[in-house]
Assembly symmetry: C2
Homo-oligomer: 517 residues x 2
Amino acid sequence: MFEATKVGRSVSKEEFKQQRDELRTQLLDAQRQLRETRIPVVVIVAGVEAAGKGEVVNRLNEWLDSRGLQTFAFWNLSDEERERPRYWRFWRTLPARGELAVLFGGWYQAPIEHRFKGLCDDAALDAELNRIVNFERMLIQDGALVVKFWFHLSERDQRRRLKELSRDDRSRWKMLPEKAHFSEHYQLFEHVAERVIRHTDLGIAPWYLIEATDSRYRDLTVGKTLLQAIRARIQQPLPMEPAPAADALNLPDSSSAQITLLDQLDLTRTLEHDEYQTALKRLQAELNELAWTAYKQRRSMVLVFEGADAGGKGGAIRRITAAVDARLYRAIPVAAPTDEEKAHHYLWRFWRHIPRAGQMIIYDRSWYGRVLVERVEGFANDAEWRRAYNEINEFEEQLVEHGAILLKFWLQVSEDEQLRRFEDRAQTPYKQYKITAEDWRNREKWPQYKAAVNEMVARTSTEHAPWSLVEGNDKPFARIKVLQTLCNRLRVALNGEDQFRSLTNRCGDEGMKPAGG
Amino acid sequence: MFEATKVGRSVSKEEFKQQRDELRTQLLDAQRQLRETRIPVVVIVAGVEAAGKGEVVNRLNEWLDSRGLQTFAFWNLSDEERERPRYWRFWRTLPARGELAVLFGGWYQAPIEHRFKGLCDDAALDAELNRIVNFERMLIQDGALVVKFWFHLSERDQRRRLKELSRDDRSRWKMLPEKAHFSEHYQLFEHVAERVIRHTDLGIAPWYLIEATDSRYRDLTVGKTLLQAIRARIQQPLPMEPAPAADALNLPDSSSAQITLLDQLDLTRTLEHDEYQTALKRLQAELNELAWTAYKQRRSMVLVFEGADAGGKGGAIRRITAAVDARLYRAIPVAAPTDEEKAHHYLWRFWRHIPRAGQMIIYDRSWYGRVLVERVEGFANDAEWRRAYNEINEFEEQLVEHGAILLKFWLQVSEDEQLRRFEDRAQTPYKQYKITAEDWRNREKWPQYKAAVNEMVARTSTEHAPWSLVEGNDKPFARIKVLQTLCNRLRVALNGEDQFRSLTNRCGDEGMKPAGG
């Protein structure tokens, strides 16, 4: 695969100077167009050691307008990163629309190193590469341009470079000697590299293999390649996947699901006042203990509350927060996104709030807005909300894989009950702020919302993150069911009977072991 | 001081119910007005242990609209927090305009605990309290409302509460047993508390002492007090300090400074090409080593570049970034703030980017925009830019105190040289993006900018963060002077001859020791 990168191409000083200035002008112009078209660009800089990746990055910083260009390297993981799913650190670095981010190694670095060091086998590597493919596809479908450079050297050239560097005052090799062994295992590294590139060389995000022997050729080629990629992306419309990702799943379609799910709920179920009081006191006491245990075990908890308007989300959440020490939880009501949030993928704002180890985070509405309100109101187009099912499943799998305990509640009420509550809100002064004209409008779309909910539950009720459907007409019943479900789930997970912890040893995973590990 | 909190006030169940609903309505209404008037509110919840601070916070979360209300506790410092100045974690929690943040203990927690545990004496505590006063004044002058609650119990009541809690399944005392000793040293704690309250009980940010024995009285009083504070803040104009803080300093006023500073620069100084090449190679090699040493010693570096338009900031910065491993630095060009940034104090966006330990961050333009462009163009009013001098000095002191190595460069060129460079930019294709109509407009305000620069340098050239004025007419000379200054400063600091490291042991400081500590 790398033969083409070992033919010894080079560029003379004169040629370089000649081409450089025009290239700079064109790059700056392309960057301006990126800003106008609001296309985010991710540039991955990877390759063999001593290929001069750092020099290339400095060159890009020199040629491009540094406003709207940021560079990120991924080493010494902070504990805030370690306490969250591995991809959190990458989400932190994703560029806003119209800007560029240059990533050293990016999401490729850890898997390559781990496989190279024999910490995982090819199968584990492939599984991780599959995640990478999904991740990049998601970014691209959201409008991003992903440009991946692999810098290569022949074994002879690499050895020569390393010798030079070890003499060079400015080299970092004295600082990071352990890296030197890359050269001693050139063959293995090339094997890993080839496998990684083969599995992740998507039509929508191809790898560009660059011969790095001659630095002038290397830098000019990078500049030209990036320029072409940007121009192509600006001219051609968004590359579309053949079929919406969600269709890959073999799930009941919404029409049939419509009959099978919400309608099965027995909304007539109630709970007597005394039963309620007793159960509430008992469950809140238990929940308080469980939350502290989770804190001690460093397990984070993610609770998602969705439901019909006036479905009783707030009341249920307050019965939880009243029991949990206020230092352990944070409730996040999902309102309109800020412009920084609008300038990123819709999941970005939720990655932002992922709790640290041992913390509980409660979402009052969530990322499911994508397949509910955004679908029904047409804020997201067909392709967008359809592929969201897979994006969400992948997101939640990463949470669970990291050891987070994830619960999702849907609170359902009947149309009549909703009407009663709307009227009650309209009449109670301190409830009026909760009821808006929008609520009344949404109510008219009851059937569309019902279909959306059914499909959502069908497509996103995974074994690692099942939905709990809650009969909400009787508030006491609903609140107790929520608390009961939460306590049961926490008890099982914290007793170490958690089947998903095994998932957490993946190629590329540098994160802490969950569950007090 | 606490006598008034020990008279045994209480509220009956009926009274409570009666008053609660109206209070909720009024609070929600006040919250709505906060949003409209874009006033940020910081609520500090502090006091003796077992006073029920967590219950109060839960109550506020129940009574207020949880959209625009966030709660933060400050324990288990993350290493990302430990690697930055202590106040970074507080800046992270400051509410956006129109929103509320409820802080457990906030910036009071650590100093109180440290003094209480005898880790520092009263003098050290007072020094820290002085910082708190400045910090709160800064927030308030920026438009914030700061409401501070101190919950108190008599010694008898506290002991009774603790006994109850130790029986209660839901208490956190089993989890945090070490806290129990608070009760054993009630007198000492009251001494510390009284001192803290006395020193920080500002007219603009008073403490509200709340008797916490009866939970209904406690919660109602908190609700009513908060309501009154919000209403008062909305009605009355921004509380103004008698004199602009900056005037407290005894510094030359701008008119006299105007003659003494920039005009002393000998802009005719130049460097021959050969000298330049040799010096450049030598200094870049040294800088590369020094940056790695700083990384090993976990010292972060903050470089600030300001200067006349076309003063050569970009070129000087590139000579630095070309020498430093791209994984070690980040260059931040300061462009227009995002709306999230606009919704906070102007320093917030800079606190956001403070580097982790061992990293170098380079600001191309900086927080000094407040006293330069914002002053001259009138984006900041007189009081705003005047008090900015002190705010900036305090900010920089915290950086240095934490062990960061801070350098500030002003690149000066003559009016004629600037004109030449403007014309060159207009003619060179890949430089055109750098020259805008605004640059030409600013040029006409040369005298105003000059006055602003002079006063800036005079008022913010502190011993811990002096300005380096660079003669910029000859680019080679300027670049070498910058590199030379940087290398000298780093060498001194990294050889442990850094006089400011002693500052870092302060009451309340939980941060890591800088310089490889």
